[in-house]
């Protein structure tokens, strides 16, 4: 019955989908010189393949039509032809050469960013996290996370019953996009915080893996202002499909304005963090703040209910660490453990760490009853 219903749904979908179809068939030309070159290379090799295909398939079809027993053909008995065989070894080799030369040129262009005139205008460090991106503008003091936007996040839950077509840029929208200036040479440095991710914006013409413990790089010079979207392309666990990339390329003046805003926002946030680091919170304040921090940073592995994933991610509920000495608990959160638990001192502010530790000890099935203030955290470094 289920299958029958599915088939009906299939039919309905196929018939109705023409109206909403908004698809492309080919690789994007993109918005950088490099992406144009990659696109041209792609078209060149595509057409060469189409050409060879037409030749081979024509011969095959001709043979199928004419060389059949039902037409009374007496089969020939030839079974080799040295000249022919040499020919169809050498000619493909030459065709390959005709592809290898432009391919090499583009590859050199990709690697040799020095051929771009002028020094690098901006370096952005991109770190892949499960499951969000972190962008640090080196030398500018700007550092933020970029998560799947709230609307997509709501609609993408299993059984959410929200039509993705009604969500603006479903799965391709973020809360804090990466903003860069146009016509400037921008270098990206990539690394991974936990597992390998891969940073891909098709309009830039390439993707690069973000590997924990290693730095890879790539560069762009975007030709026109716009919003360019992409996704993580290396399987990185449960929410691999839900860590999109949005890059907004702005004219220099608008970019400078954005930069100034970010800086003043950043300064305000730093000042607030400093104040909070010595502030004494009530237990309820800590728990409320901690819940937010937990859901944003911990729940993806330790699960929203704190039960973890047996064998992979330990439970918070009834955890011996959470129910043990509070300093040890805080130290684990600050410093991390092994390959999978990252050191959160690099990501969270003292008040946030104190809050999440307090929250974990007083919620998610635990009732330790104690709390820790930001100022009481073990020494940081």
């Amino acid at each position: 019955m289920k299958i029958f219903k599915l088939l009906l749904a299939v039919l309905g979908w196929v018939l109705s989908s023409r109206a909403r179809a908004d698809y492309t068939l080919n690789l994007t030309e993109g918005v950088t010189k490099l992406s144009h070159d990659v696109h041209d290379l792609h078209m060149l090799i595509l057409w060469i393949c189409v050409g060879i295909g037409i030749l081979v398939y024509s011969l095959l079809i001709y043979s199928i039509i004419h060389h059949r027993k039902s037409k009374g053909v007496v089969p020939a008995q030839f079974h080799e032809n040295t000249k022919l065989e040499i020919l169809w070894t050498v000619i493909p080799f030459l065709i390959l050469l005709s592809m290898a030369i432009p391919a090499t040129k583009v590859m050199i262009e990709i690697y040799n960013s020095d051929t771009m005139p002028g020094p690098t205008d901006l370096t952005v460090k991109v770190t892949g996290y499960q499951w969000k991106w972190r962008y640090e503008y080196l030398g500018e003091g700007i550092d933020f996370f970029s998560n799947l936007d709230a609307k997509s996040n709501e609609a993408r839950q299993l059984g959410a019953n929200i039509d993705p077509a009604k969500v603006d840029n479903y799965l391709l929208n973020v809360d804090n996009p990466l903003v860069i200036p146009v016509n400037k040479k921008i270098r990206f440095l990539f690394t991974g915080a936990d597992v390998i991710h891969s940073w891909w914006v098709p309009d830039f013409g390439w993707k690069k893996d973000t590997i924990p413990g290693f730095i890879t790089d790539g560069w762009v010079k975007v030709e026109k202002p716009g919003i360019y979207r992409g996704q993580c392309t290396e399987l990185c666990g449960r929410d691999h499909a839900f860590m999109p990339i949005v890059v907004i390329a702005k004219p220099e003046a608008e970019y400078q304005q954005w930069l100034a805003e970010q800086k003043s926002k950043g300064e305000a946030a730093t000042a607030q963090a400093k104040a909070e680091a010595v502030k004494t919170f009530t237990k309820d304040e800590l728990i409320a703040k901690g819940q937010e921090v937990y859901n944003a940073n911990c729940a993806s592995c330790h699960q929203p209910n704190g039960e973890g994933i047996p064998g992979a991610f330990p439970a918070i509920t009834n955890s011996p660490v959470v129910n043990g000495p509070i300093e040890e608990h805080a130290r684990l959160v600050l410093k991390g453990k092994g390959q999978l638990m990252p050191p959160f001192e690099a990501v969270l502010k003292p008040a946030e760490i104190a809050a999440v530790v307090t929250y974990q000890r007083n919620a998610l099935g635990n009732s330790k009853g104690d709390l820790i203030q930001p100022a009481e955290l073990p020494a940081q470094n």
């Binding site: 090799i45 295909g53 059949r68 080799f93 590859m107 479903y170 799965l171 098709p202 013409g205």
Partner: protein, 529 residues
């Protein structure tokens, strides 16, 4: 010596034992071949069901059916089961059945080893399938099992690794057996350059397997020690390198691709001449092309890793080496077309599948050539373009070759002609649906849809819907295939004569034996002309 003499020898007491124990203790290559083939068929159905879970979830944007973690598990197990449970055992089954018969040998050289190499498999698969019910769920880091992600696997990790060890041992043993058999057991006069191409492709496959399976076993063992014994092979914080894993894995993984496809080349090279009623064109160039592909497969592995940030010398080396594979592969395709040229073709089901193989495998070859070009692959990598590519070479490639082989040899194995009308129906449904399933995936990849995602943006909806429809038609069309096989095994259908296919006697020793062949064949070696 004629076929009749080979069958009516004095050993009448050497028939098969009865009941279940016949299959448990059997050392007969035909029995073991049958066991392999049936196991593969079951595994194809299990892996296929998993594929349908994947396609059902991807039918529409949004998550409707499964948690993304289970989705990842399905993608991982689908691949592992299809590769290690479907395609490889199926070709090993064909090798067991056909190689001794084709080279005029009474059995495999190492029959007890043969029994063992088969009976390892069910244990390996039970272990692998049982991970789905373990704490933390089945393996979900993809069949490539890249660290650090794979180290997040729960209790399933050691069991997955052990099952890979078991399946690897089985493959190595089977390969040793095939090599020893071919080099020592050929009938007098059966020189190497007279071997049927299926045998040739299998020798090269067997050497590839012996070379790569230990690499895989070692690599996954390093994962095991990283996870449980505090080593840091792939952990940068301990001085290791996650990318080292990828190099090791693909040093196994790329030749593995040819383990899956070379025997298919062999099958197609048997089927096309029979139905074209013409000898295979370019026999020796076929052998050399196969050997060249085998060699090249060892020096192209990093084309799976163009995006990890290799030095440009590495990118270019692997680009050039990979492009070179197009030359021997092209030779093969040209040879098949030339074999058909001026033949007197008929289009029974095996021939239909073989022709579809040539057409559609070539498609997969073209996309493979495109992907070999590293600057372009920086766009294609890890998108549905790749998914389309490897399914074109594996489904209408390896799997169609298996269909062709089954229809081709089924009358020989069972003594009964299969139902040609059902065979044709199976072919057309399969050939059309496979394209509906996988062709749109090229567009999805080029338009920017990453692979291995449980949910996608709405602009990818249309082609995903088509792909899912195709996949379900494909899946259910295979029930026809199962029915055809069951019918033949039950002895229903027209009796097949020795030759089965008109003029087939010219195309291999198997067609000089009765259909079905007696339990023991070639106890006296045939004479080779």
């Amino acid at each position: 010596m004629s076929a009749a003499a080979a069958t009516h020898d004095e050993h009448h007491d050497h028939g098969p034992a009865r009941g279940l124990m016949r299959w448990v203790f059997t050392t007969n290559h035909k029995d073991i071949g049958t066991l392999y083939l049936i196991t593969a068929l079951i595994m194809f159905m299990v892996g296929g069901a998993m594929a349908l879970v994947i396609r059902a979830e991807l039918f529409q944007p949004g998550l409707q059916l499964v948690d993304p973690m289970f989705f990842n598990s399905m993608a991982t197990l689908h691949a592992l089961i299809m590769i290690f449970g479907g395609v490889m055992p199926a070709f090993t089954g064909l090798a067991n059945w056909m190689i001794p018969i084709m080279i005029g040998a009474p059995d495999m050289a190492l029959p007890r080893l043969n029994n063992w190499s088969f009976w390892l498999l069910p244990f390996g698969f039970v272990l692998l399938a049982s991970t789905l019910f373990m704490e933390g769920g089945g393996p979900a880091a993809g069949w490539t099992m890249y660290p650090p992600l794979v180290l997040q696997t729960g209790a399933a990790l050691p069991f997955t690794i052990f099952s890979i060890h078991i399946l690897g041992i089985s493959s190595i043993l089977a390969s040793i057996n095939i090599i020893v058999t071919v080099f020592n057991m050929r009938a007098p006069g059966m020189s190497l350059m007279k071997l049927p191409l299926f045998v040739w492709t299998w020798i090269i496959t067997a050497f590839l397997m012996i070379a790569i399976m230990p690499v895989l076993a070692g690599t996954v063992t390093m994962l095991l020690t990283d996870k449980f014994f505090g080593t840091s092979f792939f952990n940068a914080a301990g001085g290791g390198d996650p990318v080292l894993y990828q190099h090791l894995f693909w040093f196994f993984g790329h030749p593995e691709v040819y383990v899956l496809i070379l025997p298919s080349f062999g099958v197609i090279s048997q089927v096309i001449p029979t139905f074209a009623r013409k000898p295979l064109f370019g026999y020796s160039s076929m052998v050399y092309a196969t050997a060249s592909i085998g060699f090249l497969s060892f020096i192209v592995w990093a084309h799976h890793q163009y995006t990890v940030g290799m030095p440009i010398e590495g990118e270019l080396f692997f680009t050039y080496a990979t492009m070179l594979i197009a030359v021997p592969t092209g030779v093969k395709v040209f040879n098949w077309v030339s074999t058909m040229w001026k033949g007197a073709m008929t289009f029974e089901t095996p021939m239909l599948f073989a022709i579809a193989f040539v057409v559609l495998f070539t498609m997969g070859g073209f996309t493979g050539l495109m992907m070999s070009i590293s600057p372009a692959d920086l766009q294609y990598h890890d998108t549905y373009f790749i998914v389309a590519h490897f399914h074109y070479v594996l489904v209408p490639g390896a799997v169609f070759a298996l269909f062709a082989a089954t229809y081709y040899w089924l009358p020989k194995w069972t003594g009964r002609m299969y139902d040609e009308r059902l065979g044709q129906l199976h072919f057309w449904l399969t050939a059309i649906s496979v394209n509906v399933t996988f062709f749109p995936q090229h567009f999805l990849g080029l338009a920017g849809m990453p692979r291995r995602i449980a949910d996608y943006a709405v602009q990818f909806a249309e082609f995903n819907a088509w792909s899912t429809v195709g996949a379900f038609v494909f899946g259910f069309a295979q029930l026809i295939f199962v029915y055809v096989i069951i019918k033949a095994i039950r002895g229903e259908g027209e009796k097949a004569n020795d030759e089965v296919w008109e003029g087939a006697r010219e195309h291999g020793l198997e067609w000089t034996l009765p259909s079905p062949p007696p339990y023991h064949t070639w106890e006296t070696a045939p004479e080779i002309h």
